[in-house]
Every structure is written in structure tokens, then in C-alpha cells.
Symmetry: C2
Subunit: 659 residues, 2 copies
Amino acid sequence: MATRRKTKAESAEHFERIMIERVIPEVDGGRFPVKRVPGETVEVEAHAFSDGHDDLLVFLLYRKAGAALWSRVPMVCNGNDEWRAAFSIKERADHEYTVEAEMDEFATWQKGLRKKQEAGQDLSVDLQIGAGILKKVAASASDEIAPKLTAWARELEASPDQARAVARALASETHALVVEGYARERFVRYPHILKVAVDRPRALFSSWYEFFPRSWGDKPGEHGSFRTCQRILPEIARMGFNVIYLPPIHPIGVAHRKGKNNSTTCLPGEPGCPWAIGSEEGGHKTIHPQLGTIEDFKAFLSKAAGLGLEVALDVAFQCSPDHPYVKAHPQWFLWRPDGTVQYAENPPKKYEDVLPINFETEDREALWQELKSVFLFWIEQGVRIFRVDNPHTKPFMFWDWVIAEIRKDHPDVIFLAEAFTRPKVMYRLAKAGFTQSYTYFTWRNNKHEFMDYMNEIAKGPVAEFFRPNFWPNTPDILVPHLQTGGRPMFIMRAVLASTLSSNWGVYGPAFELCLNEPFPGKEEYIYSEKYEIKSWDWDAPGNLKDTLALLNRIRRDNAALQETRNIRFLEVYNDQLLAYWKASSDGKNVILVVASFDPVHAQGGRMRLPLKELGLSGDAVLEVQDLLTGMRQVWRGEFADVHIDPRRMPAQVLRVEKK
Amino acid sequence: MATRRKTKAESAEHFERIMIERVIPEVDGGRFPVKRVPGETVEVEAHAFSDGHDDLLVFLLYRKAGAALWSRVPMVCNGNDEWRAAFSIKERADHEYTVEAEMDEFATWQKGLRKKQEAGQDLSVDLQIGAGILKKVAASASDEIAPKLTAWARELEASPDQARAVARALASETHALVVEGYARERFVRYPHILKVAVDRPRALFSSWYEFFPRSWGDKPGEHGSFRTCQRILPEIARMGFNVIYLPPIHPIGVAHRKGKNNSTTCLPGEPGCPWAIGSEEGGHKTIHPQLGTIEDFKAFLSKAAGLGLEVALDVAFQCSPDHPYVKAHPQWFLWRPDGTVQYAENPPKKYEDVLPINFETEDREALWQELKSVFLFWIEQGVRIFRVDNPHTKPFMFWDWVIAEIRKDHPDVIFLAEAFTRPKVMYRLAKAGFTQSYTYFTWRNNKHEFMDYMNEIAKGPVAEFFRPNFWPNTPDILVPHLQTGGRPMFIMRAVLASTLSSNWGVYGPAFELCLNEPFPGKEEYIYSEKYEIKSWDWDAPGNLKDTLALLNRIRRDNAALQETRNIRFLEVYNDQLLAYWKASSDGKNVILVVASFDPVHAQGGRMRLPLKELGLSGDAVLEVQDLLTGMRQVWRGEFADVHIDPRRMPAQVLRVEKK
């Protein structure tokens, strides 16, 4: 340390008087980008100060990644040496930003001059000093500016009319031109160039519907295909979803195939689990013959697209023992001393139908390239969204690499990480480039859990790179509150998922049919669709299709619900009630949600309205309409009473209009 | 980014499966050290995890700075991938630390084996896998370990008695040896080596007494000297202080000398302000003739040392217009267009008796070396503590450099930063190497302000590099609560300063005489000693000398009060009462302080005792003694009532004994 300082003291041409200590957001020292979509802003804070009492000039610099020139925005200090500015993302292109600062010698001098003028002191020497600053700036300024600065310098030092000279000196026009003239190379630059990964809008606003095509054959019990299951697409579109996500569509292994309820005994004719990928018929680039051909798949994509539905595929990098890779590339798997290949285990559980891939194989260059080609193959067929199965059991480095590789040529590809694991691991995957992430939403079930969790993932540093996708259920997860809470609980979870997070999804029709029977003692469905072909009575009484359609319509019509980081909670004096609000970035659309965690009894409470944040006085009048029921109310003042009867509707989604 | 990942994927010899994302404490990415004294520990937290479900091994590494070998401490994870360990500083030598981690393949395997054993599965293949791990580790292990690992491997794969082989496999002894055998070069190392600046103990525990020697002449009104003022040293020592700090002791300028009450008119014979340094008689390396000679000063140091008192000098890098530097090095000052030298200004105020030094001069190498030589000169005379005046008006880079330079040869030197400015600037100076810092203590005056402030400076990241020194008053500052609060307020501020912070000081005798008359409308003393020679009636009735002596004795006798970072607050249900406690690092000494902010009325309240933190049950019995009054009490259970009458004593300093 000593040496470094010594060198600086002896030789530094330019003096490091300015500290830019911290720039926020910054993910791991700038190693990873923050994430945005077009239309969003990046709000940047910098901690910048200098020794002494001089004024600082601080600028936010931003540009499209790799562009030669920076755009510059002056940053504003609201105390404690914390400076803020923002820039908005206008197109789908990655961006970069950083901060620079310089001493504002002229502003410091103006401040002194103003005070001396007020104190009636003689200003002639000070005007000469100011003229000196102007001349110094002019010397390195552009030809456009320099003559004017020089002329003003003369005015300051030679004007016979001191009052006029002072007016010129203090004019904000004078300061503005001096700032323009300051030599850019003297500015102190923050050492990191920070990155913004800009994705397409659906990265931030998406509504997912997961279903098993094989359960939608022409007749009950018959294996469905991409042709037969097209018939349910219009209804999914009517429910307002815009992504349909399919479990793996590949051939399913025969060896150790699982039967009903994950039984190790598989009866003849049982279809097996789609995640046991690969058979003699092919692997990750092949479609299960009973689902159809590539042409059928493309026709399905095209039909879906016509209805505004994108198709997301499941990418599960694991193999059934029958996968062609096992024979062709035995070195990609772990072999046991007894000559058998290592299957997946979570002792004492054995998953003999699934072989993990050994990402650390010596042959990993070939392996990784092959896995990358799986994504490219489906991209070639027209797929742009992938739900990645258990990414946390594969190396972070693989994701760092493969996502960057694919994003380079296909920046419109969206990756959803299905990692239900420890927070830091989930966040690391988001940093690796996953566009969206599954979350703990599914298990959170009381007011304070939700407030804490949203503050963790939707506010502050995590929200800069982690985009949550909220799922009330999945084929793997049937949580206790859905097992016991009945229809009101299903509605409540749908309201929460679809209004807390701008990305959400359900596994249907299990969800909208309020399916709630668990495998005894587990958080899983009994007779799970993972292991058998189901036939669904989609129009069964009590189904929630209209409710889901309404929620998705509300989301589509209200920009406030198309973001997640804009969430703010309200005080409501009842622990069974959770209240939060979101405003669109232009402030015009405001949605306030109140949800009750009690699926049985009515709950009431008083809430404190965010009048100040809405720019309103304490006696403001608000007109609110419950978008779920159409009911209108008028609220006056800071407090409003809410009453929620779960037998009618377990939540209110209120559009707030200022009067 | 893409390129970097690609390279890694293709060529990385060792796989980056482990993330060490964050190590705490770390100051600005490791640019600056944390601070400690011998006897303190460095508690390190690391956020480390990997993909997959394998066990991790995480080690804290530490060594004396520059040593070749690291000491290693296993870190322990208490959830959320956050690992902790600590090392203690045993001697005054700077240290370094970092963190490393590796996959614990053998532990992962043991875990699986244990579960399969419990499930009654056949283990023969697993034992062969375990033997393989042992052999692999043995292959790169030292000759000491390898044979044993190989023998055990044989035992696992070939023992006819499977139960015995399993016992060997699961023995913790086996795991311990494997860990020892893991190839160190495979460990992933955190990329920063972090630093600990280790100062001598007084950096953390010091009691300062500031006085003006010139006010202690033989007769009232006579200019005192280092000979005459020796007579007050025994009483300062009796009061328990261990640092005496003297305002600048150099010749005082004549030009523009200030008179009484900072008057611009100076009457003949007025002594001037000690901070207007330099006259024809000399500058920063000269002693004011009326204070005596270098020999007198050394005799004074020696007398003080005999009483356990160290002498701290004031270093104020500024000059009176008469300072020899001004003629010899005019280029070290700023000159105005009218040919006069720039004096200090805070428009409209003018400080014509003080010229700031231009640290940015072209001639700064000579200037900085000269200023460094000022420190070295006084170090040569035996001074080891410097209180630096207004360091924030000089470049951070200068302090970075000069403190490192001096600390290199004189690691026992202590620097106290007198910067009353914005928090980030004060923290930056502490990072630059200042050992201690003045604080906002002087102005904080209610319970929540204190709790917030202590949490900011004595807990968390700031406390790692910023050592507060609490002063109730200084020659520059007489705060409103001391102007009006009377003697109880002075006692209360002394109790707070001396028990909240392990470093504290007073400006005396103004403090112990409860001097409270301000210059009208200001937070300053009227007839300030800065501008005139005072004669003090040190034994005036009501003086606090015995109270200060008692407080400093309590500090000396109770290790809990010799640290600052150990503070914790207690709930007490009265906003006028502040309660906190500190325990010594061995837990043996526990001090609990209750202070009242009401200098007039008695205040009572109930507090919740930290029984859990003290390792006690909810019905524990504590015996407490108020060290200020000697009163003893016995407390039972979690709550205790306190009652404070400021007319008797505005605070309690309780020693807590577990029964």
C-alpha cells in the first residue's frame, strides 16, 4: 500500500481528490449485469465526495454496449454524498453505465462570490480570480465554446460596471457553459463499467400455463399428441395466458420406467415419466413418437402463435438409461465400480430411471457443445422460451457459458430456472443469465412471510438481477394450504401470484379444477400426471377458468401489474390481511390489492393509504373500483376500511383513481 | 463476457464449482484494512456455496502480513450458506486473511453411505467408491498420510467384515485425515487478500485530557510554560487520564493576530490563537518561546510518562502569514491576482490569520515530504500520538500516503482525525489510516439518536475501520445541552462518553468546572481559551474531578469498557432512559449502564435483561453493584426496574455478577 501511495504522491498528474466509492446497482463488482426490458429505467446511485468544501459535478454515463460515445446525465445529490440519476431503456439492446465526477471549481467560486456580494464586500479581486477560471477552461474547450468563455473572462476582469460583471459571473448560463467546457479527461471515472442485460418485454410480463399434451388425446385415456391437443389452445388463450409450457416432449426410457404414483413397478402400457428422457427412438432433439412429428410440433407452435401463445419447452439435462448418449458417449456419465452407470440418488431414495450427466467429464468440451446444440435445435424449430429443470445440479460455469453463447445470436431467448434450492444458489443462477426464476412463493403463506420475501426479491440488490415467476402449484408441488384451503384458497393464491409478480404461472387443469388430493403425507399430487395419462373434466362445476381469465385480463389492462419491482406494502391493522399497491412508471395506473389469508372467516381491517406517495393531500378523495367484482367505492382521507369474505371473494384488486 | 466464459469452458483445468461470493469484513474490496489491537479477534463471515448437493469445506486463512505460511481455521455454516470463523490477534503486527473452499467429496459420500446403511441397503459397491476416493486423495497426499489412507482404502474394498469396513468409512478420524490429505492446490481461493492494521492497545482504549499549557503559569495571568504546567500533571493522572493533548505549541503569528473572543482587533500583549501557526521564530518544528525549549518539552514528556501520561500533539497543517514557509516556499500557497496570499475563508467570514496550504501545488513532492518531516521531527522528540486538525480539508491521498509512510517505521504512532464533517468523508479518513476519529457524539442528545448512531459506528461495516473517540466538549464546541443542563448534564455526558466508547476525552478544566457560558447565540465558549490566557480555579466547589477519576477508574478496572464494538442496547420502557451493556471478550466482566436524558426530573422504567445473551435462564438471579454509588441490588428474572434521580446521579454504571 505504501508504495502505491508514494508513487501517486510523487507522480500523479491528476489528483485523486474525488472518491466515487460505490455505484448502485452493481452486481458482484460488475461481474454480472442488472436486468431490464425496454421501457424500464435504471436508477443509479453513486456515493461520491471529495476532501475540502468544493462543489462536485457528478454525471451518470450510459450507452448501448460497445458504443463509442456515452450519453451523460447530471446526477443530483440529496444529502449524505449520495447522488442519483436514471436512464431509460428504449430498445432491446444490452447497455452499459458508469459514473464520473469532477470538482466544479467555477461553481465553488460562484458560491463564494454570491455570499461576499450579500455581505457587501469588495469583489474586484474575486472577479479577477473568476476570470482566471474562465480562461483556464477556455484554453482546453472546443472552438465553439472557447471564444464565449474568453469574452466573458474579459467582461469579469475589465468591465467598468462591477454590478454587470457580477451578474455575468453569477448567471446560470455562465455556469452551464463552463461545465460544458470542463476538460473531460480531468474527470474521475468509476473503475467499473457496469452492464445491463436487456431482454424482450415478455421477460418481465408473462402468464404461463403448464399442461401435459399426452393427456389431451381425442378420447379419454388415449395418448394425446400435438395434433389432438391443439383443441385446448383457444381456451388457454381465452384465459389470458401467453406462454404455454410443456413438460419434456422427448421419447421416454423403458428401463426402470416408473409406474403410477412413482411406483418402481411399471405395468405394461404405462407411459412413464417425461423427465426420464431418451429411448432407442432418440433423445433431447427428438419428439416422442406418440406426440407426433417435428411437423406436427411446428404446426402446434404456429396454431399457438396465432392465438398469442408462445411455447416454452422443458430442458432437463439428464438421461434415461436408454438414451442414445449412454451408448454413444459413456464418458459423459459416471460409472460405478460394478460396471453399472450411476443413476440419480438422494439416499436412501433411488431414481433408477434417470442418469445424471457428469458435467465434469474430461470430455466436457464435446458434452457442453452438444448440450448447447439442444437449445439451438429447438430454437431452429421456433422455440424461444426454455424452462430449465434443476439447473442448480449442473455447474454454474456451464450456465454462464451456454446462456451467454445463445444470447449472443438469439437475444430474444428466455430461460426460466427451475431451482428450488437455497437462496444464494438461486441468485447465482439468475446472475448466470437465467431470465426468470421459480421462487418460494408456493410455500409462503402468511402476511409477514410475504412482506419479508417480497422485500428480499423485489426490492434492493436482488431485484436488479432476479426476476421472480410465481407458481401456486406445479406437477411436483401441492402445498398443504391448497390441500386443505378449498376453492377460496385457490383463488387467493392466483390473485397473489398474478398481482405480486408480473410473471406467474399455473399447472393446469389441476389448478383451475382446484385439485387438492395429495399423495398421503406428501406435498405431491396423488395419481400424478407425471406418471400417467389423465383425462380432465375441464368444465367441472366450480372451475376457476373465468377467474383466471379475469385476472389475466386485469393484468393486461393495468400497466401497474406488468412490473414487480414497483410493489409497496400498506399498513393494515389485521394480520390476516395483506395489502400492497403498484403504480405504473408514468404514475397513471394504480392498483391496490388486499388479500385475506383466512379461507373460512370474513376479515376486516383499516388500512393507511399511500396518499403522500401518490402526491395527494391527507384529505384526498379516491374513487376505487374492485376489478374482481366491479364494486365501486369512494374513500376520503388517509384511512380506508376493508372487509373480505372469502366465501364471496378472498381478495380485492382495486383500481385507484384520484379525483 | 461470452468470450471469457468460452475460454473457461474449453480450457479450465480446475472447475469453478465453488463460489466464494463475499467475505466480511472487507473494506472497499480490500483496498483498506480493518483495524484491531492485540487481544481482539477478527470475526470473518464468508458466503460460499457450490452447485449440486455436495458438502463444502471452507477455511479461514490468516497470517502476519507478508508471512509465507497461512494458519487455517475451519469455518462453520449456520445456514444460508454463510460460514463463520475467527482468529485472534496476539501481537502488534499487521495481519492478512482470506478464505478458501473445496468440495468435500468424501463427506458427501459418507453422508450417502450413512443413509443407505440406515435404510438397510447393500453397501458393497458404495464401499468400493469410497475406497476409490481414499486412493485418489492418497495419491497426492504427503508421505505421512498417504500410507494410512491407502490402508484404509484396502479395508473398505477388501474387508471380509462389511460392518467393520463401514465403521472405518464413517469414522470421523477417517474424514479428518482425508481433509488433511486434500490437495491444497485444488482449493478455490477468494480473490482478495484482506488486511488487518494492528495498532497498539491505546488505539482502542484511551482517556484524553486536553489543556492549554499557557494558562498554567506560576501566577494567574502569566504565560505558562512546559516547566510551570508540570504541576498539574499529577492531578490529571489522579483523574485517571492517560493521554494529555496539547493545542499547537508553536510560535503564533503576529499579522492579523486575533484578540479576545476571536476579535479582529488584537490588543498589545494578547497571545493570539495557537492554531495561527508560525512566526519569525519558527514554524511547525519550533516551540513557542514562551512555552520553553525543546529540552523543557522533553522534560515535560518525561514527567508525564512517569505518571502514566502520554502526550499528544496537535498537527494543524496551516500557516500564519508570518510562518517561515510563506517566504521560503511561496509556491506552497495560493496567491490572489492582487499579489496577496490567499487566507482561509468561509464567505463572508475571513480568517486572515490563517493561510491554507495548497496541497495541489506543482511543488507537492517537496511540500508533502516537508509535512511528513513535521511528524518525524516530533516522533524524534518522543511523541507518539497526533491529533490532526481538519484533515478533511487536505487531500485524502496525502493521508493515505503520509500515514502509511510513518506507520512503516513507527507502527506505534496514533493519529486522531479531527474532522467534523459529513459521514462518508469521516469514514474515508479513517480508511486512510487515522487510528481514531472525533464523532457526532458531542451533538447526539436523545435515546434514539444514540442507538442509531452507535449502531452505525460501533456495529457493522463502519466499526471495522472507524474507532470513535467521544468528547463531550472541545475548545471549539459548547453544545446547547451543556449550556443549559447544569452539573447533572455534565456528569451524564461524561458517563455516556466514557462508557459508550472505549476512547474518550474532555477539554479541561472547562469540563470538570462545568463551564457553560456561551458566546451569545453560538455553540462556543465566551472568552474562549483559544484567544486568551485563562486562570482556572480548579478546585472550585462542584467540580467534577472526583467523578472523572471514578469513571476512569471504573474503565480501568472493567475490561468490558475497554472496547466499543461490544456494545448492545437493552429495551427500557421509558424514552428518557438509555440502557446498554458490554461484556469483556472472555465474558467474565459485564457492565450495564442506564443513563437519563432528563437533567431535572427523576425517571423510572422497566428494562428487559439480556439473560439469554448471558447464557442464563429466564429466572436467573443477578447481583448488581452501581459502581458510581456502591449500591448493591439483586435482580431476579428477565425484568428489572430502574429509577434515576439526576439530582443524586444521572446514571448508573452497574457491574453485573451472575449468581
